[in-house]
Symmetry: D3
Subunit: 340 residues, 6 copies
Amino acid sequence: MSQTRKSRLVPEVDYGKDGKQAGFIRLFHSTHESAYGFLPIPIVVVKNGEGPTALFTSGNHGDEYEGQVALTNLIKFLEPGMIRGRVIMMPMANYPAALIGRRVSPIDDLNMNRIFPGDPDGTVTRQIAHYIDSELIPLADLVIDLHSGGSSLNYIPTALAKQSADPVLYQKQLAALRAFGAPYTYIQGGAQGQGGDQTLGSGADRRGSIALGTELGGAGAVNASGLAIAERGLRNLLVHLGILGREHWVEPPVATRFLDVRGPEMYVYAPENGVFEPLVELGDAVVPGTPAARIHMPETPWLPPVEIAFKAGGIVMCKRIPARTKRGDCLFHLASDLAG
Amino acid sequence: MSQTRKSRLVPEVDYGKDGKQAGFIRLFHSTHESAYGFLPIPIVVVKNGEGPTALFTSGNHGDEYEGQVALTNLIKFLEPGMIRGRVIMMPMANYPAALIGRRVSPIDDLNMNRIFPGDPDGTVTRQIAHYIDSELIPLADLVIDLHSGGSSLNYIPTALAKQSADPVLYQKQLAALRAFGAPYTYIQGGAQGQGGDQTLGSGADRRGSIALGTELGGAGAVNASGLAIAERGLRNLLVHLGILGREHWVEPPVATRFLDVRGPEMYVYAPENGVFEPLVELGDAVVPGTPAARIHMPETPWLPPVEIAFKAGGIVMCKRIPARTKRGDCLFHLASDLAG
Amino acid sequence: MSQTRKSRLVPEVDYGKDGKQAGFIRLFHSTHESAYGFLPIPIVVVKNGEGPTALFTSGNHGDEYEGQVALTNLIKFLEPGMIRGRVIMMPMANYPAALIGRRVSPIDDLNMNRIFPGDPDGTVTRQIAHYIDSELIPLADLVIDLHSGGSSLNYIPTALAKQSADPVLYQKQLAALRAFGAPYTYIQGGAQGQGGDQTLGSGADRRGSIALGTELGGAGAVNASGLAIAERGLRNLLVHLGILGREHWVEPPVATRFLDVRGPEMYVYAPENGVFEPLVELGDAVVPGTPAARIHMPETPWLPPVEIAFKAGGIVMCKRIPARTKRGDCLFHLASDLAG
Amino acid sequence: MSQTRKSRLVPEVDYGKDGKQAGFIRLFHSTHESAYGFLPIPIVVVKNGEGPTALFTSGNHGDEYEGQVALTNLIKFLEPGMIRGRVIMMPMANYPAALIGRRVSPIDDLNMNRIFPGDPDGTVTRQIAHYIDSELIPLADLVIDLHSGGSSLNYIPTALAKQSADPVLYQKQLAALRAFGAPYTYIQGGAQGQGGDQTLGSGADRRGSIALGTELGGAGAVNASGLAIAERGLRNLLVHLGILGREHWVEPPVATRFLDVRGPEMYVYAPENGVFEPLVELGDAVVPGTPAARIHMPETPWLPPVEIAFKAGGIVMCKRIPARTKRGDCLFHLASDLAG
Amino acid sequence: MSQTRKSRLVPEVDYGKDGKQAGFIRLFHSTHESAYGFLPIPIVVVKNGEGPTALFTSGNHGDEYEGQVALTNLIKFLEPGMIRGRVIMMPMANYPAALIGRRVSPIDDLNMNRIFPGDPDGTVTRQIAHYIDSELIPLADLVIDLHSGGSSLNYIPTALAKQSADPVLYQKQLAALRAFGAPYTYIQGGAQGQGGDQTLGSGADRRGSIALGTELGGAGAVNASGLAIAERGLRNLLVHLGILGREHWVEPPVATRFLDVRGPEMYVYAPENGVFEPLVELGDAVVPGTPAARIHMPETPWLPPVEIAFKAGGIVMCKRIPARTKRGDCLFHLASDLAG
Amino acid sequence: MSQTRKSRLVPEVDYGKDGKQAGFIRLFHSTHESAYGFLPIPIVVVKNGEGPTALFTSGNHGDEYEGQVALTNLIKFLEPGMIRGRVIMMPMANYPAALIGRRVSPIDDLNMNRIFPGDPDGTVTRQIAHYIDSELIPLADLVIDLHSGGSSLNYIPTALAKQSADPVLYQKQLAALRAFGAPYTYIQGGAQGQGGDQTLGSGADRRGSIALGTELGGAGAVNASGLAIAERGLRNLLVHLGILGREHWVEPPVATRFLDVRGPEMYVYAPENGVFEPLVELGDAVVPGTPAARIHMPETPWLPPVEIAFKAGGIVMCKRIPARTKRGDCLFHLASDLAG
């Protein structure tokens, strides 16, 4: 139902106009402190004539920064004269969350990447998701939503896609991911706990766009190598789409290694509350039975720690950051080479 | 005045008794939810006859974990028959903070390492500090308070001491730090923003103990190399003091490199609110003018970032973790080789 | 869908009974502190035989008071013998918000005037909106929802209506507004940030009632002249409808001046965070280019303020109160004489 | 609509497998602190061949404990060899609420027993309700949801059912309630403020299960006699269903006395804010006019208290615990002998 | 030092004037919401000529109510003509806490009965304690501070005193306690976790008043028998002091039984987090080894509960109410017959 | 004791150096989010040779803005070449409070103008107060602390002083106030609820400075006439002190009218909770018995309002803003012509 109702957000830019426009998408949010005010979500559009459209987003989770920095730099770099077609850049997609560096919105406590396609009459985060889904994604041939591990996780810099059910789109995803050129790229199958059909990327895929993503680092910090990968990858994507000319292409040092994350056994979860001591590092190759972590209980330090081993083999893609952990927290996930 | 008033905390252990005792220091805290309850601060004492006393503390800041894990392991390792003298281990010194993994106490919002010598009639954190200062430190020949960078900072694993004003004690500090054997050791002079005379270590020094500290990593996680350094260092300290026999000595792979942190120019602070992109890594050697960081403003991504350079030279010891930053946040500090 | 489901709220009064009844609408809200309790929303009905029904509401925003005082006074004044027909008065429509003087509900943080037609199965504020929309508005020939600027805005006392799409209803709105007799009356067209079709008034218009509103002052205070206008206006409306006799008519000192608020250029928004210094006062006539405000940054007081000018001309109807402001806050809005 | 969408929760147990399985239902909840973590809702299934299924739940309100203890004990008692059919036990149905002992969830502030049938795409509590409604209840011939008065109310231990609209089911409810064998059992008719069709029990009835409940005590504590009634009652229910053999039957000391709670006059509500002094105790028989309570105002102790009398007669089933009370809080409710 | 500085609180009554005066002690508290406002702490003084002074306080803990109701009633009963001397009644001693029914103040989170003698320059609760200590207690020959168990504990109604170090005062305490006539009276020796020298009573004793207390029930409710004991006891105390005439004496049905609470072994504490199931009731006599409680873990219901036994013998005076408990919470305390 | 301990704050400016220096006073505040960061309190010093020193402060209460704007403007205006002596300007004295526009600090909830002379080892606000008291005030011949009514009060723009106990200083206060030239000036005697000896001004007076203040408006807004009075007044003060030349003098349009605020009867307080309707306006002259306000209770709108009359006569200087009010809130205060 929400797809047919109209967004209440008002952009200060005109997506159909040639040139470089910068401004805010106005989300009117009537509060005790500001009865008629709006939340100013920054947006930049660079357009030159006919051609494909790329939609680049970051800040979907407010505590993931490599994408925010890469887009902030790209916004200053791109000029209409360089391109053919259109680039829409939204560096702080969940603006209230990104402004304070939190994964979720401080206004409605929602994780924007778990509520697509959003709702034009819902709380603030649902309204933003709906705007992106109903107003921006339909304009785009390709959408890349730039993520990192956020405050609680750290990732080897990687690109990714959720495999499209449409085989043509899937081939386009693979081609675009090769152009993006991250050292690792993984294909999400039935990965649990990662948003299912409620992510921005799933929304893009539903509407027929080439939907890509990244995990560029994490720990709530800016990772230098993840940032470099993103900056090169975004330009290469624009070249790949024909929006930028070949002179902007930068050859990745190595071809991307395709991986996948299959089932729940690729994930390690905390079995108890306590202090998490990791026993492997990002990028390590493990086999079933490799010790993964200990959970210590300094509040009763005379008791032994709980030890956890991997149940599957693969490469350690992702590791929890905060040592203090609760039963059910994800400590690691693995990936293994993509079949075929 | 607070030194002469008596602590209201009640230990379940008897510090004068031989053997291995484990229990809680009871801090009665009368709340709406628990009118007569106590906060159970874990404490373990291992004693065997006459001999020196070592006091090992961690969890002074609740989000610093290498020390908590090292002490939790040491508690299970040490038995009275192995030692001569006494080892007192307090792995969650600021228990309420450590239980939830926060730097400061959730009860009174106090940073325990900024309020020594504490107050027996103050709020919870002041009472704990007072107990350590007035009851535990006076028992100890040597005190080491195990810190890391916590949630907001990351450190190269290092040992440290605030130089005692007593030259004999200072020589004892240097000897003990050599025994501890961290790859780096720095001497705090007039370091700003690091607690001055209000730290646990300053309390120990005031009472004539050999007062040491560490910075074993950070980012709110357990750093494997920092943990290994701490485990070796603590045993070596016990050997150095004659509490453990020489058979427990583990030779550090390299002699510690002594550094110092002199004046305010060794620190880099954020000049604006925004997203912090570091341009150097821990351990890098820099000179005055080396670019240190950029601060980006994705909320107005069309504006240029602010660039910051180092004003002094040295080795990058410490780096901020969270990218979202405010004017006045510390981004880095340096150290340089200790003179003489 | 929500229109066809039944409200769970239970009134203590019988709207169909003659006489003066006072009591509460019970909204059962099962909380940790009160498992079977209800929120007591005050309601008064005065009825005498057949005749038209007027529904008067205030406290839709809990920090707007002139309407609350006017209705509290009117409730004590009106007796069945004075009237023909029915008057339903609900002085604290968003009871939880009004009880603590906040624009939005402390229970679900919702702005009641942005969620009509409500939801009988939603959180508390949605349930109240649904009750008004589905149970009270259908009883009413005329609905006036009494607003003021609230804590963040101040208004010249004014009446208003959102122009009904039904031309007959629109003429009735104009006639009723003339009877109400505020010095200014404005017609809302496409005013942005003011609730669109999600207000109580829009709900009333959708159901065919004559839907009116007011802005009687603001700043979270009771404005004496706004209160006087409301007290006279409400009685005049009852006379206009034939519910009260002509002897209750009080001639307004001047005929109302009809204005409208057309497009986004009638609004001035803060372009930066800082301290807002207004350069015009309520009621001033401005032209495009008239200086409107300065935004000062006392945190870096050596930097110049940002100056803002009006982009349109008109009368200053509304001004922000709190000086500390954020990018996107509404600082002023204008109105101009209604065409035709 | 929500009934046809699929739950996103993932059980670690297989409801169709014989044997005793214990694990968690994983509710993936992506937060700032744990991006890929799940909430571990405990579940135990004991199954042996074909036969009826009983679903036992507690912790629907997190501060009601007799049921949680009874199920925790039953989980350790039941073994597959004892039974024929299946028993599904979910002792902390609203896990986040039960973990902290609150009626409502700390995550979304929702009362789980007011939101059935839930929503697979809603916030955490709506997702749990939906899982129970769409995945567990359809497996069950009989459902009993074990409640008590919670933090704000205290009950005489009692069993209860909301009378099914299906007369066959109603007879089965009565038979099962006789087997359960609480000293009192009441039938909910149009009881106000008790959840209507939005409770777990209503969900079970809608799907054709025999839906029962209890009120086993309250005050946020474990009531010994309520616990004993529950332990006996649950086993007797399993015998009644043929899941356990007759050797597990324990004859209740007295046949249950059936009561009902008819209309709003059976409830007493606070007419003012103040300190509630009850004038009757649980189990007292009252008549219309019996003094029920005084409300004192110690903030103006010179003013007289407000006195309240019962408007109906019956047995005092339920009494408010916290003395500090607000207008609209429920102070008591009565029940009277069931007609017929 | 604090004893010599002057209170900033301003009473509306004149303690030296004959007659019955009721008003507020004004505690000026300058907040964002009320820059020049005061907290109105109710106080009533009844005085008639020369004679002894009794100071009666309640609401020291805001969630203890029997004393508040007893004093609210006594305030309306006492008239100057009945008495000789003076009665000062302060029913909501910690006014901000009592107004919301919390043990501790919502303003500074302080427990007033753990901060005597207070501080005239401290936060709100310290200022109130200081006023009572420095202005009211010095006027009083006898002080009784009426407590109950509060929200987390329940008590058999009892009177009590902390034994004065002055043997003459101690004899006067015993005599007054006999007059008060509660069924049980206990003498606090070194009771741990109950406030030591920081209570109102200790302040009264330090200043040479006869210092008494009570525990009249608890669970955050009004206990009818505890209230009756308090009402009789307060009048008897006034007769005992010669303030009221003998005609107001009501003979207690039984002489009080004197008990004491000696050492830490009289207390039972939770050894783990979980759900507390009590195995004894208030008033039960126990011996060492009597099972006291089980702690259940419904979050892992397959694990066995922890069982706790009493370490000492005596009568169960006090029991924890909330089932959800944390390591260190007090579950019970005992008392045994007073020697001699 | 606090006066002899040294502040831990570190200014970036050198108060003894000639020229114009702008920077921050660094208050190191070690938090979870920023372990070594400082709060950057802005400070500007303009100095030229020998001569008197003026200290101008605002933002002592963070929601009072006219002073902040006046100093922000003056900072940009003053250059060393214009002056003889020194001007120290601190526009956001309570920086954390001013940054969010709150009267009190969000860090420790303290009102800075109720804690002088502060404490170098206290929480953040106490440290700032101590720095001003011990480091800045001793440099100053004259101190003016610029206040307004803040969020809860509104004032006729006025200057003021607390009468110095030193008659010479008092004459200097009067002379300086004449130079400042506000239309009204009042002398605080025993004004209650306004900070006594714990204000910045009292600190300045204790140290022998000419201590002045203002109330320039309020309601949390910038008042244009109050701002104009402050801008003229500050320059005139500098001329009066000989720091600026006579060419900067601007003659006030009228000589200031001296008033005083004597006793508690000059204040009107709310006798009940409810909605405050003022019956007089700022500047009105009233006599004892003039109706001051009504308190309405829209939650029970059938009950009559409470009416309050003035007990003294005078001019209405100050009026409460927020209509929703609590017993004890100050609604108005009066002033009357200064005797002699």
